[in-house]
Amino acid sequence: MIYQDSKTLLDVHGLRASVNGIEILKGINLTVRSGEVHAIMGTNGSGKSTFAKVLAGHNAYKVTGGSVTFEGNNLFDLEPEERARAGVFLAFQYPIEIPGVANSHFLRLAYNTTQAQRGKDELDPLEFEDFVREKMKLLEMNPDFLDRGVNEGFSGGEKKRNEILQMALLEPKLAILDETDSGLDIDALRIVTKGVNQLATKDNAIILVTHYQRLLNYIEPDYVHVMAGGRIIKTGGKELALDLETRGYDWVSIEQRAAARA
C-alpha cells in the first residue's frame, strides 16, 4: 500500500551487473518505499532473478556500475550476511537442500542472529519451539518440518512454505520473493500468499519477482515493472499486469523501441 508518511527503503540507480563477463543488468532504476508492494515481471532471461540475487549479494554476480542504497546506506558495502541482518530478505526460487542440519536448528540460529542484531532477546530451543510453531500455523505447516534437514526431501511447495516461514520469523524490512509462486498448486499458492499478506505492514516492503499475473490476484501490487534486456522498460499500476496477461510481453518492447526512436 502507498502511504503518505512512507520512507525510502531501497534506491537503485543505473545498476549494472554481469556474470562470467556477460552483462545481464544494464542500468536498473527503482525506488521502493516502506509499505509498498512492487511486482517485477518479464520473460525468462530478462534479468529479474539476477536483480534479486545482486541485491542479496550473491558472489557469482559482479556489480559493474550504478548504485544501490538501503535505508540510505550503500548496500554494496555490506557482505551478504550483513545485508540479511540489516533486513534484506530473499525468498529463493530454488531453495537449496542442506542435509543433516535440522530445520529447527537452522531457523533458530537465523532468528537469534537477527534478534541479536536488533538488540532483542534470543530464544532458547524450548522457547523457540513454541514461537516457531505459532508461525507455522500461519502457513499450515506440519510441525515435523522442524525435525527434518533444511529443505531436505521437501516438495517444491514445502520448500516455498519454508521460505515464507523464514520471512515470518525474520520480519525483514525488504522481502524479495523470487518466483515464489512457481511450482505451487492453487491451494498452496493461496496459503503462501495469505501468509505474505499477513506479513506486509506499513513499515516493510515487498518485491515480487514473477512471470505470471496469477500471483498478483492474491498479492495486490502497488506498482508493476516490466523488465526486458536487463532494464525496467515500463512501470505501471496493477492494471499493467492484466494487460501483460492478455497481450504478452512483446508489445511493451515494441512500444519502448518506438518511444526510443521518437
Binding site: A56, G57, H58, N59, A60, E79, P80, E81, A84, R85, F89, L90, F92, P95, I96, I98, P99, G100, V101, A102, H105, F106, L109, A110, T113, T114, Q117, G149, Q166, L170
Partner: protein, 478 residues
C-alpha cells in the same frame, strides 16, 4: 574456491611448538644392534627381545604396502632414530617431580593433569616421545584391581600378562608397519581390567611426538576380562617440522566373555603446511579381538591431522553374539591424504557389526574409505550395516570409497550404503542470506554431517572434536 572458503580451512596448526628438553636419543638407523640397545635400555626379559628380533627378521623380508590410495616418497628407515627419551631419568613417583618444561608442554596441549585431571575424572598416561612420563590415578585404579601403566612398566611388573597377550591380536608379521613396530616399539600403554570390574573412569593417553626425525612406535595393549568394561581415550598432537615423522603404532584390544571395550581417538598430528611440506605419516595397526561371547569392541575415531593416514581399526568377532562397531570422521585439507576404514571379521554365530564412516575432504586433499566386511562360513546369523558418506569442500579435493564384502555364509545379512555430497557456494549463500556467516554455516553443516559419530564420543571429546573440526576447516569454504 572463493576467498572465504579458503580462509576457513587454513587455520594454522596450534600445537606446533617444540619443547626444549635434553633427550637421550639413539643414533639413527635400524639393525639388530638397535633393537638390542632398545631392549637393554628398557631392561627387558629375554622373551621380549626374541619377540622383537623375530619381528625384525620378518620385517626385513616384507615390502611396504603399495595398495593404499596415497602417495609419498620412499621412507628411509635408516634415517630414523628409533629411541628418544627425555633425559632426567630417575623414577618419578609424583607429578611434582616431572620436568616443569614437560608440564608446560602438556599445559599448552591442554592435557588435563594434576587437579584438572581430578576434576575431569580422567586418568592420563602421558607418552612423550617414546617413554611414559607419569601415570596419574594409578593408585585409585589399583584399588579396584585395574592395572593402567606404561607398557614398559607392565613388562617389568606383570610380565606374564604381557607375554600371554602381546602379539595375539596383531601377530609380529601381520603387516609391514606392525612388524616394524613389534621390532622397535619403545613404549605405550597397558591396561588390564580384571573379571567383573567396570572401570570407574575414562582412561586416557596423550601422545606427542617431539623430536625431529624421530619415529614414534607405541604399543598399546588393553585386556578386559569376563564381564569387565572400559572406555579408553587417545589424543595425539605433534610439533611442526618441515620433515616428515613416522608414527607406526600397534594397538591390541582383547575382550573376553561379556566384556566391553570402547576406544576413542581424536588424532590431530601435525598435517604438514598448506603446500604439503612436513607432517606425520600415521601408519597404524589397530585391532580388537572380541574373543568371548557377548563381548563388544567399539572404535570411534576423529582423524583430523597427519600428512598421511593409513589406518583400519578392526574387530575380529570370534565370540558368539559379539559386537563390533566403527564410527569414524576423517577430515583432510590442503595436501593431506587419508586411506582409512575398518575390517569387521565375523567368525562367531550371530555376530553383529556397524560401520559409520564420514569422510570430509577440503583443499587438494584425498580422502579414501577402505573397509572389509568378511563373514566366515561359521558366522551363521551374522549381520553388518555399513554407511559411508563423503563430503567435498571446494573442487580440488577427492573422495573415494573402497568397500570389500566377502560373505561365505548364506544366513548372513550385509548392508552397505554410501553417499557423496558437497558444501557448495549456494548452500553458504543460503545461510548468509539468513544472516549466518560462512564459518558458522560450515561448522553447522559439518556437525550435522558428523552427528552420528560425535554422539559416540565421550562428552569432553565430543566438544573437543567439534572445535577441532571448526579450526581445521576454517577458511576452506567460500
Amino acid at each position: 574456491m572463493s576467498a572465504v572458503l579458503q580462509n576457513l580451512v587454513n587455520q594454522p596448526y596450534k600445537h606446533g611448538f617444540v619443547t626444549e628438553i635434553e633427550s637421550d636419543v639413539a643414533p639413527r638407523g635400524l639393525s639388530e644392534d638397535t633393537i638390542r640397545l632398545i631392549s637393554a635400555k628398557k631392561n627387558e626379559p629375554g622373551w621380549l627381545l626374541e619377540f622383537r628380533l623375530k619381528a625384525y627378521q620378518q620385517w626385513l623380508k616384507m615390502e611396504e604396502p603399495k595398495w593404499p590410495n596415497v602417495k609419498y616418497p620412499k621412507i628411509d628407515f635408516q634415517a630414523i632414530s628409533y629411541y628418544s627419551a627425555p633425559k632426567p631419568k630417575q623414577k618419578l613417583s609424583s607429578m611434582d617431580e616431572v620436568d616443569p618444561e614437560l608440564l608446560r608442554t602438556f599445559e599448552k596441549l591442554g592435557v588435563p593433569m594434576h587437579e584438572r585431571a581430578a576434576l575431569a575424572g580422567v586418568a592420563v598416561d602421558v607418552i612423550f616421545d617414546s617413554v611414559s612420563v607419569a601415570t596419574t590415578y594409578k593408585q585409585k585404579l589399583a584399588e579396584v584391581g585395574i592395572t593402567f601403566c606404561s607398557i614398559s612398566e607392565a613388562v617389568q611388573m606383570h610380565p606374564d600378562l604381557v607375554r600371554q597377550y602381546l602379539g595375539t591380536v596383531v601377530p609380529v608379521g601381520d603387516n609391514y608397519y606392525a612388524a616394524l613396530n613389534s621390532a622397535v616399539f619403545t613404549d605405550g600403554t597397558f591396561c588390564f581390567i580384571p573379571k567383573g570390574v567396570k572401570c570407574p573412569m575414562d582412561l586416557s593417553t596423550y601422545f606427542r611426538i617431539n623430536t625431529e626425525e624421530s619415529g614414534q612406535f607405541e604399543r598399546t595393549l588393553i585386556i578386559a576380562e569376563d564381564g569387565a568394561s572400559v572406555s579408553y581415550l587417545e589424543g595425539c598432537t605433534a610439533p611442526k617440522f618441515d620433515t616428515n615423522q613416522l608414527h607406526a603404532a600397534v594397538v591390541e584390544l582383547i575382550a573376553l566373555d561379556n566384556a566391553d571395550i570402547k576406544y576413542s581417538t581424536v588424532q590431530n598430528w601435525y598435517a604438514g603446511d598448506e603446500n604439503g611440506l612436513g607432517g606425520i605419516y600415521n601408519f597404524v595397526t589397530k585391532r580388537g579381538l572380541a574373543k568371548g561371547i557377548n563381548s563388544r569392541i567399539s572404535w570411534t575415531q576423529v582423524e583430523t591431522g597427519s600428512a598421511i593416514t593409513w589406518k583400519y581399526p578392526s574387530c575380529v568377532l570370534q565370540g558368539e553374539n559379539s559386537v563390533g562397531e566403527f564410527y569414524s570422521v576423517a577430515v583432510t585439507n590442503n595436501y593431506q591424504q587419508a586411506d582409512t576404514g575398518t575390517k569387521m571379521i565375523h567368525i562367531g554365530k550371530n555376530t553383529r557389526s556397524t560401520i559409520v564412516s564420514k569422510g570430509i575432504s577440503a583443499g587438494h586433499s584425498n580422502n579414501s574409505y577402505r573397509g572389509l566386511v568378511r563373514i566366515a562360513p561359521t558366522a551363521t546369523g551374522a549381520r553388518n550395516y555399513s554407511q559411508c558418506d563423503s563430503m567435498l569442500i571446494g573442487d580440488k579435493c577427492s573422495a573415494s570409497t573402497f568397500p570389500y564384502i566377502q560373505v561365505r555364509n548364506q544366513g548372513a545379512k550385509v548392508e552397505h550404503e554410501a553417499s557423496t555430497s558437497k558444501i557448495g557456494e549456494d548452500q553458504l549463500f543460503y545461510f548468509a542470506q539468513r544472516g549466518i556467516d560462512s564459518e558458522e554455516a560450515v561448522s553447522m553443516i559439518i556437525n550435522g554431517f558428523c552427528k552420528d559419530v560425535f554422539q559416540q564420543l565421550p562428552m569432553e571429546f565430543a566438544v573437543e572434536a567439534t572445535k577441532l573440526l571448526g579450526f581445521k576447516l576454517e577458511g576452506s569454504v567460500g
